[in-house]
Amino acid sequence: MKTSKQYIDSLKELDLTVYLLGEKVEDTVEHPMIRPSMNSVAATYEYAAMPEYEDLMTTTSHLTGEKINRFTHIHQSAEDLVKKVKMQRLLGQKTASCFQRCVGLDAGNAVYSTTYEIDQAFSTDYHKRFREYWTMVQREDLTVDGAMTDPKGDRGLSPAQQADPDLFLRVVERRPDGVVVRGAKAHQTGIVNSHEVLVMPTIAMRPEDKDYAISFAIPTDTAGIFMIYGRQSCDTRKLEEGADIDLGNKKYGGHEALVIFEDVFVPNERIFLDGETDFVGMLVERFASYHRQSYGGCKVGVGDVLIGAAALAADYNGAAKASHVKDKLIEMTHLNETLYSSGIACSSEGHATASGNYYVDAMLANVCKQNVTRFPYEITRLAEDIAGGLMVTMPGEQDLKNDYLRPYIEKYLKGVAEVPTVDRLRVLRLIENITLGTAAVGYRTESMHGAGSPQAQRIMIARQANLNHKKQLAKDIAGIKE
C-alpha cells in the first residue's frame, strides 16, 4: 500500500496534459487550484495508514491475499458493501469534499462481474485480463478514474446516428495488437489525480453501435489523452495571495474535467469489452447502481460537516437555543441519516454475482440516489437559513488584513462576545463553500446529476417496482377474484 506521500510522488511522475483557464498546466500537483482536490485523494491513502481507521480503510485482497486499500477492493460480502459506505462517510467527514476515488472502485467492481458473464456467453478472456489488471491496481495502490459519461450530443439519437460520430467514444481503428479510440468523457471526477482511467460505455447499445461498445483501461498520461479542467464557482479565490478564510475549506476540494481521447491506442490486454453490445446495458446498470450506493456515504459525510457548521453558526450568532433553530438542525440530521440508511440498506441487501463479487440491491441503491438528488438541497437551504445573510455579504479576507478596517469588522460583525469575530467569519465561509462555492459542485449539482440524473433512477425504480405483485396483494385483500 502507498503512503499519502508516495501517492503524491507517484502523481509527479505522470506526464499529464491538462489545460486550466486556457493555459497548459506545467505542475498539476502544485497548482493552487488543483492541489486541494489532490489532498482529498491523498486522504484516502493517509487514513488507510492510521490504526483507528484500518478496519474501514483496508481489507484483504481475494486476488492476492495481501492487505489492500478498500478503494481497490472487489467486494466479497454484503459486509464489504456496508464498510464501503461507512468508509465514504468517514472520508466525506474528513474532507468535506468529493474525494474522487469511489468512481474507480465502482467501475472496477462493475467490470469485474460483467466481464465474467461476457466470457461465459462468448468464451472471451476479458475477465482474466481484468483480474490481471486489477491485481496490478491493488498491488500498486493506484487511483483509477472510472470514465462513463460521453458527451452524447443529440439525446434523441443513438451513438451511431449522431451527426458527429465522435460524440460517443468509439473505436476508429483496429490493429492486431489493439485498437485506436477517439471521443471524450465529460465530468470526469478526479481524473487529474488518477493514475489510470477505466473507460466504459455510457448507455445500453444496439448491434449497429458495435464500435461504441468498448471498455478498457490505460494510464492517464497515455499519448493522445488531454484534459480540460472544469471551473467551479469561486475557484479563483484559490489563486489569491495567502488565501485562507475566504476559501472556506483551505485544504480539501474536488474536481471534474472534460477528457479528450484523440486517437489513443489501447493494447489488447487492456480491453475488457469490445463489441459485445448485449452486455453494455449490464455494465452500465451495475456501475450506476454501485455509484448510486456510494452517494449514500460520501454526501452524508459532507452533510455531517455542513450540519456541524450550521450548529456552530447558530452558537456564534447566539441563536442556538431558539426552538426553530434546534428544529432545523434536527430536520437536517433526519434528512442526512435518511440518505445514510438507504446507503446501508442497499449494501446489506447486496448479493453475489456469478463472478463471486457482491453487488448492491439495485432498487435500494436507486432509491438512495433519488433521495440524494433532493435532500442535500434541503439541507443546504436550512444551513443558509441558520447561517444568515452575512454568509454572502461579509467583507473579504483582504479587508481583515487591512489595519484600518479590521477593528471595524471585528466590532460590527461580532456575534456572541466570547467568540472571536474571525471564527464566526470562518464558519460562514465554510457554509458558503459547501452550499455555493467550490464544494457545491460536489454537494449540490453532483448530488443531482452525478451517478445519473434523477430520471435515470426513476426508470430503474419503475423497472423493479414489481407492480403485478403489489396488484395481487391488493386483489387478495379486496377480495377480487380476477
Binding site: E349, H351, N466, H469
Partner: protein, 92 residues
C-alpha cells in the same frame, strides 16, 4: 430418469417475489422426481434457498452444505441442471 436427490428446501420471507416460488418448486419436484428432505441439516446435504428476488434473504447456515439459491423464475430443466451441478460439488 433423474438421479434421486433429496433437497432441504427453504423459502425466503417472500416480501417482494418476482415469480411464484411455490409453483416453481412444485414443478421442480414433479419433473425431477426428487424428494424434499426434512429434519436437521447434515454435512454434504443439498440446501435449496428459494428466494423471491436477489436480496437472498434466506441463506444457508454455516457448515459444509452444498447450497443452491434461486433468485428468479428460470426454466425448470435449467434449474434441475443447476442443482445436479451443485450436487456434484465437493464440500466447501
Amino acid at each position: 430418469m433423474q438421479e434421486q436427490l433429496e433437497l432441504h428446501i427453504r423459502y425466503c420471507g417472500g416480501c417482494n417475489p418476482t415469480y411464484d416460488r411455490v409453483a416453481l418448486v412444485s414443478e421442480l419436484l414433479s419433473v425431477s422426481g426428487w424428494a424434499k428432505k426434512g429434519g436437521s441439516l447434515a454435512p454434504g446435504d443439498i440446501w435449496l434457498g428459494v428466494c423471491g428476488c436477489t436480496r437472498e434473504c434466506v441463506r444457508p447456515p454455516g457448515g459444509h452444505l452444498r447450497h443452491i439459491a434461486i433468485h428468479q423464475s428460470i426454466p425448470v430443466l435449467t434449474l434441475i441442471e443447476q442443482i445436479k451441478k451443485g450436487a456434484e460439488k465437493s464440500w466447501e
